[in-house]
Amino acid sequence: MKSKGQAHIMEYFILSFFVMVVIVLLIIFITTYQIGSSRSEQSDAQFQKTMFMLKTFSSSPLLNKLAYKEGSMLEDSKLTALSSIPCSEAEGAFGQGWFAEVKVIGNTVECTRDTYPNCGIWSFCRKSGNFKAYDVPVNIYRKTTGRVDAGMLTVGYYG
């Protein structure tokens, strides 16, 4: 009788023990998930910042052909002008820590005052270091000939 009672009590303790183990496992699991979720949210914030900059840059009136309100029609003379001035001036308007590049499809000549207009690569605020970048197709308007080329705009942030 005594051992029967003890066995019954033991059952309850074992059951409680298992339930506690499961609850603790669930708590650990949810906490780990939240930590992982916060990390992915941090990279999501970086992604959002880069997307914001991509949209701003591709539609900036400083770089687009006048009258193209929807943007993404970058004028080659404006791109050459921006790549000729110090990065610190551009950072005054666009913020810090970013870089950008525009490339005309099939053209490998870096644009400077001397190579303009027969060139097709413009770089802005390029530095060394780790970065995360995204690119989108854009048009490049050739001011001297009136021709519209296809190209890629890459925008990214360092760090």
Binding site: I30, Q48, F52
Partner: protein, 352 residues
């Protein structure tokens, strides 16, 4: 009779259940807080995404900010400070007034050779103008500011406009006009002036929720912001006429709008951004001109390019001056108009 074991079972069961329930409640309330913070962060990141989309497309949009009074502590441009984190609106110049339902608009200031884009993100707002005289200059000033404010034709968050008051009849007030109606109304104002013997006067009372601007070529004491018009679209803006030493010089309608909506802080932010962008735009345009000036066949354009470049150099220099200095900013306003005209000349001659 109930056995000891059964008593044990009952007590054990109660104690254990209470323990588990309390543990779950405590944990779930932490989890709910984390969930709430996530939701709040997503609202503000979503707002920034909307601002980016509107800036890129130019198409206005509505945005709902749930419980904005508790979520947003303050907008100190360019950062929106919330109860969890700060969200930066850089590099887009954003004039933002918090509210539960926001209309996001891309506005522009056009100099011909360059456009300045900025975002106005406002809840439902009524802009009420109280001119104190009938002159063409006063109506032009009002027209200029109204033109720089958003139209809410295609979105749900509405902007309304109003005008008043008339001394000759009962306090005559027009409000709840849309932007297009307001602009048309001003143009036909002279008809009403003759017909109704309209004598503009300071309104006796105003709706406290309206953004009211008194417009006058003379200084008057008023409880509302006063636009003291000077020349060429410039003047002094008194947010509080009892402190005339704290007036702001305005050279563009954006100066007026930013000060009315957010006081000195917004005025400083808008000026810093606008002048930085103007300086950069001038540098870029001068570089661009340098690429074309000495091209073969461009001899006819050379004098025009030289004149335009000289104006841009002055602009760049003036853009780095103190925006609170009326003399310098008055000069800047003149140079901006000059640059607009010079660029038009270039276009007419086929040089641009």
């Amino acid at each position: 009779m109930i056995s000891v074991l059964e008593i044990f079972k009952i007590i054990f069961g109660i104690v254990f259940s209470v323990f588990v329930i309390v543990l779950i409640f405590r944990f779930s309330s932490n989890y709910m807080e984390m969930g709430d913070s996530n939701a709040q962060a997503n609202i503000m990141l979503g707002f920034r995404k909307t601002v980016g989309d509107v800036f890129a497309s130019g198409i206005p949009a509505d945005y709902a900010i749930k419980d904005s009074k508790n979520l947003i502590i303050k907008y100190m441009p360019p950062q929106i400070h919330t109860s969890i984190a700060a969200v930066s609106m850089e590099p887009v110049t954003t004039i933002f007034v918090p509210g539960d339902r926001i209309g996001v608009h891309r506005m522009e200031y056009d100099l011909g050779w360059w456009k300045y884009y900025y975002i106005l993100a406002l809840p439902e707002t009524t802009f009420f103008f109280n001119p104190l005289n009938n002159s063409e200059e006063t109506w032009s000033e009002i027209y200029r500011v109204v033109k720089a404010l958003p139209s809410s034709e295609n979105i749900e968050t509405k902007m309304y406009f109003g005008l008043g008051c008339n001394a000759t009849s009962d306090q005559w007030v027009v409000n709840n006009l849309k932007k297009e109606e307001m602009l048309r109304f001003e143009k036909t104002m002279s008809v009403y002036l003759e017909k109704d013997n309209f004598m503009p006067t300071l309104c006796g009372s105003f709706n406290k929720e309206w953004k009211t601007i008194v417009v006058s070529p003379k200084f008057v004491e008023t409880e509302h912001p006063l636009m003291f018009t000077l020349v060429n679209g410039t003047g002094m803006l008194y947010l509080n006429t009892s402190q005339p030493e704290k007036a702001h010089f305005y050279k563009t309608p954006m100066d007026v709008i930013s000060a009315i909506l957010g006081g000195k802080e917004f005025y400083n932010y808008e000026n810093r951004d606008f002048l930085a962008q103007l300086s950069l735009a001038s540098s870029l345009k001068m570089e661009e001109i340098g690429l074309f000036m000495h091209r073969p066949g461009g001899a006819d354009c050379l004098p025009l390019f030289e004149e335009f470049r000289t104006t841009l150099e002055s602009l760049k220099g003036l853009a780095s001056q103190d925006y609170n200095d009326p003399m310098k900013m008055g000069e800047l306003a003149i140079k901006m108009e000059e640059s607009r005209q010079r660029f038009l000349d270039l276009q007419v001659r086929g040089c641009e």
